[in-house]
C-alpha cells in the first residue's frame, strides 16, 4: 500500500474530518469559555482572601503564598475534570480517524498501552520502572508485519527519606515482528561516549559491564550515532545488515530524537524519546488550525512508517 502524504491528509481533513472537527471545536470553545469564567471566580476568591489576610497582618512570605497555591491547584483540578469528556471525545473521533486513515488495518485504543513486562523484556532500559503509565495504543498489521505502539512514561522512584523520581523513558514505544529469524539479543543505544570522545569512546563503552559485549560495526556514521551490545557477533551483523544500518541512520536523522532499538525474541523494539505529551488535545488553541492536525498526523505517521523506513515488509528470507 502506498504511504499517505501530507497532501492526502490535508484533503482528508477537509472531507473526512471537518464535521467532527467543527462539532468538537464548538465543544472546546464552550469549555474554554466556562473555564475562563471559573478561572476568574477562583482568582477573585484568592484576591479576597489575600486582602483579608493582608488586613489581619499576615506576613507576605510565606503566609500569603498559600491562597495562591491553593487557587492554582483548584483551577487545575477543575480544568482536568471538565476537560476529561472532551479529551475522550477528541481521541475517540479525531485520533481514531487519523489512525484508520493511515491504514485501515490499524486498531486504536485510547486508554491502553504497551504492558510493563514487554517494556522490560525489550532490554533497552536496564532499570525496571516502578511508576509506569501510558496511553494511545495502536496495533494491527502493515502488510506482512504485525506492529503495535503506544505512548509511554516509565519512571523510577526511590523510596525512603530522600524520595526522588527519575524518568527512564518518555515517548513513543514501538514493537514489530522482525523479518529475519534470529536467536540472539541485540541492543542499539544512542551513543554518548563516542560523541564526546571520538574513537576513544570505544574503551568506556566496552567497560559497560551490565550489558552484553560491545559489537563494533564497520559503518563510521552508524558508530557515531549508536553503540551496539549483543551476545552473538555474527547474528548481530546478520540483523544489522549494511542496508538496515543505513536505514536506521536515515530514520535517526529524520526524527532527530534519541533513538533506542533492540532485537529480542524475533521482534524489533523501537523507543523514540519525546519531551511532550503525544496525541493530546489542547484546550486553549483552536482545533481548526491545520498545523495542529499536521502534528498529530506526523507523529502517528512516524510510528506507522517505521515498517517502511526499516523495510520490515521485505520477506525474502525464510520468515514469511
Amino acid at each position: 500500500m502506498k504511504a499517505k502524504t501530507l497532501d492526502d491528509f490535508k484533503q482528508f481533513c477537509e472531507t473526512g474530518l471537518s464535521a467532527d472537527l467543527n462539532a468538537l471545536e464548538a465543544r472546546r470553545r464552550a469549555l474554554a469559555r466556562n473555564l475562563t469564567y471559573a478561572g476568574a471566580v477562583v482568582a477573585g476568591l484568592v484576591l479576597i482572601v489575600l486582602f483579608l489576610m493582608g488586613r489581619s497582618g499576615v506576613q507576605l512570605f510565606p503566609g500569603l503564598l498559600f491562597p495562591v497555591i491553593i487557587g492554582a491547584i483548584l483551577f487545575g483540578f477543575i480544568t482536568h475534570l471538565a476537560g476529561k469528556g472532551y479529551v475522550r471525545q477528541f481521541k475517540a473521533t479525531i485520533i481514531r480517524k487519523i489512525v484508520s486513515f493511515l491504514d485501515e488495518n490499524l486498531d486504536y485504543s485510547p486508554h491502553r498501552h504497551i504492558p510493563r513486562s514487554t517494556f522490560i523484556a525489550s532490554q533497552i532500559f536496564k532499570t525496571a520502572p516502578n511508576r509506569y503509565k501510558g496511553d494511545d495504543y495502536v496495533s494491527g498489521n502493515i502488510g506482512a508485519t504485525k506492529i503495535e505502539f503506544s505512548e509511554l512514561h516509565a519512571e523510577y522512584e526511590t523510596g525512603g527519606k530522600n524520595r526522588s523520581r527519575r524518568t527512564i523513558f518518555r515517548g513513543l514505544f514501538f514493537i514489530a515482528d522482525f523479518n529475519k529469524h534470529f536467536t540472539c539479543r541485540l541492543v542499539v543505544l544512542p551513543d554518548t561516549a563516542e560523541k564526546l570522545f571520538g574513537g576513544f569512546g570505544k574503551t568506556p563503552q566496552s567497560w559497560n559491564l551490565t550489558r552484553d559485549p560491545l559489537i563494533k560495526l564497520e559503518d563510521p556514521e552508524f558508530e557515531n550515532f549508536f553503540v551496539v551490545h549483543g551476545n552473538d557477533q555474527i547474528q548481530a551483523r546478520y540483523i544489522l545488515s549494511t542496508s538496515l544500518m543505513n536505514r536506521i541512520i536515515d530514520f535517526r536523522k529524520k526524527t532527530n530524537r534519541h533513538l533506542y532499538l533492540s532485537f529480542v525474541g524475533s521482534k524489533i523494539f523501537v523507543a523514540l524519546s519525546y519531551a511532550r505529551n503525544l496525541f493530546e488535545p489542547r484546550l486553549f488553541t483552536t482545533l481548526l488550525d491545520f498545523e495542529l492536525m499536521r502534528e498529530y498526523f506526523q507523529d502517528l505517521q512516524l510510528a506507522v512508517g517505521i515498517v517502511d523506513d526499516l523495510s520490515l515488509n521485505t520477506r525474502i528470507w525464510t520468515k514469511q
Binding site: K216, E218, I234, R237, W317
Partner: protein, 185 residues
C-alpha cells in the same frame, strides 16, 4: 613491605593480562572463521536439493546444473587448501547467480513452492555468510590492533603472532550477488 606488594603485584599481573587478551583475540578470529566454514557448508548442502528441483522443470540447463554438482563435490572432498576453498566458494556464488537469472525463463519453476523456499533459504544463507565475513573482519581488526600496537605488540612478537588478512570479497563475487538481487525484484 606492604608498599612493595602494592607495586609488584600489578607489575606481575600486566603480562598475564596482555597474554590472555592476545589469546582471546586469536580465538575470536578462529571462532568466527569456523562459523563462516559452517555456513558455507550449509550452502553446499542446499545444492543437491536445488539441482533436483530445477531439473524437473528445465531441459536446457544441464551444463549449469552439472557445474554446480561438480563444485560441491570438489568442495566437500576435503582435500583442498584454504585458497582453493575460497576460489570454489566464489565459483559457486557466480554459478548460483547465473542459475537464478536463467530461472526467469521458467515461470512454472519460479512459482513452485519448493523452489521459492530454496531461494529464500539461499538468500538467508548468503546474508548470514556476509554477516559472518563482517564479523570475521571485525575480529581480525581487533586482533591486528593488538598485534601491532604498543605494548601488546611486544608480547605478540614473542608469541610469534602475525597480523592476519581480511576477508575480501572479489569483484566477480559482487557481480554474482547482484545478479541474484536482480532476479528477486
Amino acid at each position: 613491605m606492604p608498599i612493595a606488594i602494592v607495586i609488584i603485584v600489578p607489575l606481575l599481573l600486566i603480562p598475564v593480562l596482555i597474554y590472555n587478551s592476545l589469546i582471546a583475540r586469536k580465538n575470536q578470529v578462529l571462532n568466527v572463521f569456523g562459523a563462516i566454514d559452517a555456513l558455507l557448508k550449509k550452502r553446499y548442502d542446499l545444492i543437491p536439493n536445488l539441482v533436483a528441483t530445477v531439473k524437473g522443470y528445465t531441459q536446457h540447463e544441464r551444463s549449469l546444473l552439472e557445474e554446480l554438482t561438480k563444485i560441491r563435490a570438489q568442495a566437500l572432498s576435503g582435500q583442498i587448501s584454504d585458497d582453493e576453498a575460497v576460489e570454489l566458494d566464489n565459483k559457486l556464488t557466480r554459478a548460483l547467480g547465473r542459475l537464478l537469472l536463467v530461472v526467469e525463463n521458467y515461470p512454472n519453476l519460479r512459482a513452485s513452492e519448493n523452489f521459492m523456499h530454496l531461494q529464500r533459504t539461499l538468500t538467508e544463507l548468503e546474508e548470514q555468510i556476509s554477516a559472518a565475513r563482517r564479523a570475521y573482519n571485525a575480529a581480525v581488526t581487533d586482533y591486528n590492533n593488538a598485534v601491532e600496537m604498543f605494548p601488546t605488540s611486544i608480547a605478540a612478537s614473542m608469541m610469534n603472532y602475525k597480523p592476519r588478512r581480511f576477508f575480501e570479497i572479489s569483484e566477480k563475487q559482487r557481480e554474482g550477488i547482484d545478479a541474484g538481487e536482480h532476479f528477486r525484484r
